[in-house]
Structure formats: C-alpha cells, structure tokens
C-alpha cells in the first residue's frame, strides 16, 4: 500500500522523525534544516531537493511554533522586526565574503573550520553557563547583558520581559549574526537565540519564540527560492509536518514547565554534538573514511533522539513535581 507514492513504512518514518524534530524546534527554536537535510540526503534525495524540502519543512514547522509561542505570550514583534531587517543586510554581506573566498579557492576550508569552531564555542559557553548556574550563584549570564543594557545609545527600545536596550546595539547584533549566517549558509537560529539571551538579556522563552518568528520569515524566503526550480518534495514535507506540528506543541509547552537553566544544558549538548558531527562528516568526506560519515549521522540523529526524549522526560517530571527520582535527576543540567 502506498500513500502519495510512498510506502506506509516510509510515511511512518517521516511522521515519527517530524515529531522528534518538532519537539526540539518548539523547545529550542532551532534544529530543523540541521536535521532534515542530512536525513533526506541519507535517504537518497538529490541535494537540491534535500535542501529545498528542508527549508519548506522549517517554514511550516516555524509557522506552527511561532503561533504556539504567540499563544504563550513569548514573541516580541519589535525585536523580531529589528533582527530580521539587520540580518537580511548582514546575510548579503556574508555572501559577498563567501564569493571572495571562493575566488581565492579557500571557501570550503574556512567555512567548515568556522562552522565547527562557532558551534563548539557557543556550545561550550552555554554549557559553562548552565553548570555555573547549577553551582549556585544563579546569574552567570547576567553581567554581559547588564553591561549591554547600561549602554545608552539612542534610540532605547523596550522589549518583553522588562528588557530595555539600545536599538543601535540590537541592530548591530542582528547584523553580525546575519553576516555569520550568510557566510556559513545556515539559518542562524543557533546564534540568534544565545545572542538574545546572553547578549541582550531577553528571557529564554521569549528569545526562543522571537527566534522562531524570524526563522519563519527566512524559511519562507528560502523555500520560495528552491520551489521556483521545483526542488521541494511536497509529500515529504507534508508527512514531516504531520509529526512536527504535534511535536512543536509538546516542545513549546515544555518551555513553560522546564527551567531556563535546564534549557541551556540541552541546547549546549545539541550544539556540541553538532560540532563534532560536522567535523567528522567533513574529515570523512575529505579522507574517504566511511566510518567518520557514519559517526556523523549517528551523532546527529542520536543527539536529536536523546535530547528530545530528555525534554519530554523533564516536562513530565515537572508535571509530577518530581526532582529526585532516578530518571528525573538525569534531566537536570
């Protein structure tokens, strides 16, 4: 039996995978194309279709995630507009850097090293912050945000969560993230979320909600670009969305139950696993070592499965008000 040209087993795989990704996306505001594109490549889809379908899926999931976060009052539209405008300009500048490097023949090496380094750096910074918080002082991330908020360059802008920051600084942060996104060819969610949290002092839940709204806009633009050449497999996107729509509800609901410090620990684990996976994949490709490519795939999917399971477990533990049970202790950073 086939549904839209796909076997029932494959449909089940896509719906289940969508559920897992939706949970991560609803919780972190990132992780969509990062996981879908490699999965479609592994399943044998051409790279343009894998990227195009990944972007269309990210767009659909982020629409659902943004609506869900809006329901929880976790989206700051003013912040999203400033970030989107600044990032759009920055992405164009980042692309120019790539073209320049391409002309010198150094693009691949520099981009891959920068990607791995950036993922690892943000992951380690977040992990250190989560551990420091657990150590008891409880405000390791505050000093940087405090310093940023004390700079009074007009116009000063107020955001949700009682945050008041210079609009010029917010624009500059968006510009830098945009340059890095355009340079690395990624959505920028893994940079935007920590930049808003640690750099500007925006509460974690609002940072995630605003991040997802920004991803919706950039995802729509990316999907449109690839769809022009027919590089979006709609049945694949449809089945993935069927699962992710439910997962996004679970993930977004979990942000209201699980503490910010626990969010930081999971986020760091995802980034560090991603960093090792990208490095492993590149080394495997360059030196023709299949085991490294397999390790990369296992790391990406293993981390995604474990982290989404940890999110659901942590949420259930909070619902039961259980912090000391054997399984519940595992879910704290």
């Amino acid at each position: 039996m086939e549904i839209l040209g796909m076997s029932v087993l494959l449909v089940g795989v896509f719906v289940g995978f969508g559920l897992l990704i939706g949970t991560l996306f609803g919780f972190f505001g990132m992780g969509g194309s990062f996981l879908v594109t490699p999965a479609l490549l592994v399943l044998g889809y051409p790279s343009t279709v894998a990227v195009g379908s990944g972007l269309a899926f990210v767009f659909g999931t982020s629409v659902i995630g943004a609506l869900r976060h809006r329901d929880h009052g976790q989206v700051d539209y003013k912040l999203a507009v400033i970030m989107t405008a600044a990032m759009t300009i920055g992405i164009e500048a980042g692309k120019s850097v790539v073209f320049f490097l391409d002309a010198t023949g150094q693009a691949d090496l520099v981009i891959n090293v920068a990607y791995v380094g950036l993922l690892a750096a943000v992951g380690l910074f977040t992990l250190r912050d989560a551990w420091t918080d657990d150590g008891g002082d409880g405000d390791a991330g505050v000093p940087l945000a405090d310093r940023v908020q004390s700079i009074h360059i007009p116009p000063m802008v107020s955001f949700r969560g009682g945050v008041r920051v210079s609009g010029a600084i917010v624009f500059a942060v968006g510009l830098v993230i945009g340059v890095l996104s355009g340079f690395l060819g990624v959505g920028g969610g893994f940079l935007l979320m920590p930049a808003m949290m640690y750099g500007l002092g925006v509460p974690a839940a609002i940072a995630v909600g605003t991040d997802i709204l920004q991803i919706t806009i950039s995802g729509a633009f990316g999907a449109f670009t690839y769809a022009e050449s027919g590089s979006v497999a709609l049945p694949v996107v449809g089945f993935l969305l069927l699962g992710s729509a439910l997962g996004a509800r679970i993930g977004a609901g979990a942000t209201n139950l699980v503490d910010e410090d626990e969010i930081k620990g999971y986020f760091a684990a995802m980034l560090l696993a991603g960093s090792v996976a990208v490095a492993s994949n590149k080394l495997g490709t360059v030196y023709g070592i299949d085991a490294l490519n397999a390790l990369s795939t296992a790391l990406i999917f293993g981390a995604a499965f474990l982290v989404s399971a940890a999110i659901v477990l942590a949420a259930v533990c909070r619902l039961r008000d259980d912090r000391t049970g054997r399984w519940c202790r595992l879910t704290t950073s």
């Binding site: 839209l4 040209g5 269309a56 899926f57 767009f59 659909g60 999931t61 629409v63 659902i64 609506l67 869900r68 729509a220 999907a223 449109f224 670009t225 769809a227 022009e228 050449s229 027919g230 979006v232 497999a233 709609l234 049945p235 996107v237 449809g238 969305l241 069927l242 729509a245 439910l246 509800r249 259930v316 619902l319 039961r320």
Partner: protein
C-alpha cells in the same frame, strides 16, 4: 505532484509555499482542537493524578 508543476517558476514557488502554509495552519488548528479536548486528560495522566 498536486498539479503545481504545470505552473511557471514564481507561481509554482508561491503555490508551494502557500500549500505548506495552509497545511501548517490546518495542523495548528486541528491539533489545537485535539489538545483542548484531550489535553487535560493527558496532563492529568502524566502528572500522576
């Protein structure tokens, strides 16, 4: 698939993005209704009540 390939490039792209958007909205509304209907029971069960 879905007859979208008969459209020109930009029209096909707009239709594709539109289909994904409408499906996302439909799923949001559908799962929203399901959550309102079954959510409290599931949360009570998970919460051990």
């Amino acid at each position: 698939m879905f007859g979208l390939e008969t459209l020109s490039g930009p029209a096909q792209a707009a239709a594709t993005v539109g289909v994904v958007f409408l499906q996302a909205l439909a799923l949001y509304v559908g799962y929203g209704a399901l959550t309102r209907y079954a959510g409290p029971t599931v949360l009570d069960a998970l919460g051990g009540e």
